[in-house]
Symmetry: C2
Subunit: 224 residues, 2 copies
DNA sequence: GGAGGTAATCATGTATCCAAAATTTTTGAA
DNA sequence: TTCAAAAATTTTGGATACATGATTACCTCC
């Protein structure tokens, strides 16, 4: 049946859209795998129409590909795509941070401060789920503070693209700890209100491709 | 009938998609205006299905909005959206330039050089169409040289979003000349292979919001 | 047993049909 | 004449039906 989190009155298209996206995220639908409209339609006991519309939307967002007249498949994420997206997020977050740096007030800074403290605690307790939630909130905080909604939306979309793809995002403690230290440094830069430094730090350090590549490869392409 | 540039074998959905996008770009479909599926269907003498699919795709790209059960309208571009997109393009082009700066070779640089020379000539002759084409090529050159395809794609999409919206992009000679001088400066920076400077220059000068805002407002919201 | 060609099957792309919600028009009473 | 309620119409959301290109299965011939 439908996943429970769906609004009762949502359109069938939206229900199917969320369902399929979730299936892709969980890896139940694997990259390269074929998606057959009729199968899904049968599964939900609805017609192909809303299925097709949902798939079209997923295509626009890069999750599936329509091969004309030949089928619909879950898109593969190549190393090149992942690293390009990674780097792009770095550019965007750098820009957002530069904007945010000059707009942060005392309250924002102490919010970030508190988040880092809780992150440290979570790491100490090996509570990586909690850490990830806090990490997300840390980033959301300064991204929103940039005041640029388009920038924010695009970043969210890109992150979904790589995080919600069929990946068992394994936790790599070493990686998390590295990221944590970088958050501390970033906070320090925010306190100095140094926009240029914030930009550079995020783009060239926090999201630096070379430094993170081994971890990225490990979490996306490790055997198991 | 169909616009002439359409491939013969394209799907109806794709034909309609391109047609509608073009209509929006030309301003034949104005922001806020309602799009009725049946009308278009009748116009092309095809069924509503491909129309709907095309509209869905346009929605995903931000050109139209589906108001559930109430209709489909051409999206308004607010000042806020335009300026946010503008700023975001600056961030992205800055990042692309930083990457490109270290990868440019002699040939690339002399290509850019030649383009600026032709741009200058075009400006002298008040040939703004030609200038715009060259301007586009200048940007494409270093964007592609970044080597990051995702970055490139996103920039293209954003530019389409603001340039292909119902706007009579008037030419403002003063603006074009300002941009031209900035291209010269950028070229100089590329020659120095200074990535950081290239990033900052594009983000904080060439795409600087405050400096360009009057021009933007003039081309998007002028009365006539 | 393998290669090549042909028929059967299947999935997509499009058309048509139906139902429900929203909008517009009409009607009727104050 | 005005305004509200009801009827008629329009429009979207979804279901069903059909056509065509692609894939698969099968069969023949070597």
């Amino acid at each position: 049946m439908y996943p429970k989190f769906l609004k009762e009155h949502a359109s069938l298209k939206d229900k199917v859209y969320l369902y399929l996206k979730d299936e892709i995220a969980r890896g139940n639908l694997k990259p390269g795998e074929r998606i057959k409209e009729k199968e899904i339609a049968h599964q939900f006991d609805i017609s192909r129409t809303p299925i097709r519309e949902a798939l079209l939307q997923l295509e626009a967002e890069g999750f599936v590909r329509f091969l004309p007249r030949r089928g619909i498949i879950v898109r593969e994420l190549t190393v090149k795509e992942i690293t390009d997206v990674w780097q792009t997020i770095g550019v965007l977050e750098g820009g957002a941070a530069a904007l945010a740096a000059t707009r942060m007030n005392k309250r924002d800074l102490s919010n970030l401060e508190r988040l880092t403290q809780r992150m440290e605690k979570a790491l100490d307790e090996d509570n990586y789920d909690e850490y990830n939630r806090l990490n997300l909130r840390f980033h959301e905080t300064f991204l929103k503070k940039s005041g640029n909604e388009q920038l924010y939306e695009i970043i969210i979309r890109l992150k979904k693209r790589i995080y919600e793809h069929p990946v068992k995002m394994v936790t790599i403690p070493e990686w998390e700890r590295k990221a944590f230290r970088e958050h501390l440094e970033l906070l320090k830069i925010f306190k100095q209100k140094d926009a240029q430094k914030a930009e550079t730090y995020l783009r060239e350090v926090h999201w630096n491709l070379e430094e993170n590549l081994p971890f990225i490869l490990k979490s996306y392409f490790q055997e198991e």
